[in-house]
Amino acid sequence: MEISVKQENRHAEIYLKGELDHHGAKGLMLQLEREIEVLLPLQLVLDFSGVTFMDSSGIAVVIRTQRRIRELGGQLKLRKVAPQPRKVLEAAGINRLVEME
């Protein structure tokens, strides 16, 4: 998956683009972990507007990202989640664990 990053102070926004399945999840997680280590954000927004498909592999990515951010004392927020990925997140109850705009 492609990502792009915007940052101001310790507020970071990461834009995800493509299909988030098992094939792409491992690489995405590595990219996200690398960015988090560099940016050390207190607030991280994952922008899902470019995610055209997501399955349960994306749930593991969101949970792991949240764990990393919390270890840093920060917060994770998901933004612009389209209906299909939203339904997957809701089926897993992730909407109760992670803030979704």
């Binding site: 399945d21 498909f53 399955d55 593991a60 339904k87 997957v88 089926a91």
Partner: protein, 149 residues
């Protein structure tokens, strides 16, 4: 219940993760003849992606094996999807169906079967340890208002 298929396709592919996208797109393209909504297509793609990923990740953890995807149109605007592998099998299917249960480590969420179940109308899992697994799902496509004119 065994129903006679009005149409079907069968695809065989290797358990490479690059085929996950192909499998769900093929299923969506085949299902298009039932005139599904975008939501229904999303459900089909998600369920197929989960089943195929299971074969790739769990059935053949250290090897590459054969996966067969069968898509059938059954009477009553119903799509049947079956994903079969000849991998290691599931020792305890009931346990595997539980939400959050996974043997896949922190890269997996353990939500695959839960999602297949909630995104389709019927989920059947047949598995023999050492022989393989067949996951069969059925989804009825709703009759749309104004359709069939």
């Amino acid at each position: 219940m065994k129903l006679k298929a009005q149409n079907y396709v069968t695809m065989e592919f290797l358990s490479r993760s690059s085929n996950e996208g192909f499998a769900r797109m093929a299923a969506a393209a085949f299902a298009a003849q039932l005139d599904p909504t975008l939501d229904e297509l999303g459900d089909i793609k998600t369920a197929v992606s989960e089943a195929v990923t299971n074969s790739i990740v769990h059935a053949y953890p250290d090897s590459i094996g054969k996966v067969v995807l069968k898509l059938k149109i059954l009477p009553g605007k119903t799509l049947e999807v079956s994903v079969r592998d000849w991998g290691c099998g599931i020792p305890d299917v009931e346990q595997a169906r539980q939400p959050l249960f996974t043997t896949g480590g922190e890269e997996r969420s353990g939500m695959g079967f839960t999602i297949m179940e909630s995104f389709t109308d019927r989920l059947t899992i047949r598995s023999v340890p050492g022989k393989g697994t067949t996951v069969t799902m059925r989804k009825r496509i709703q009759q749309r208002l104004g359709a069939g004119k």
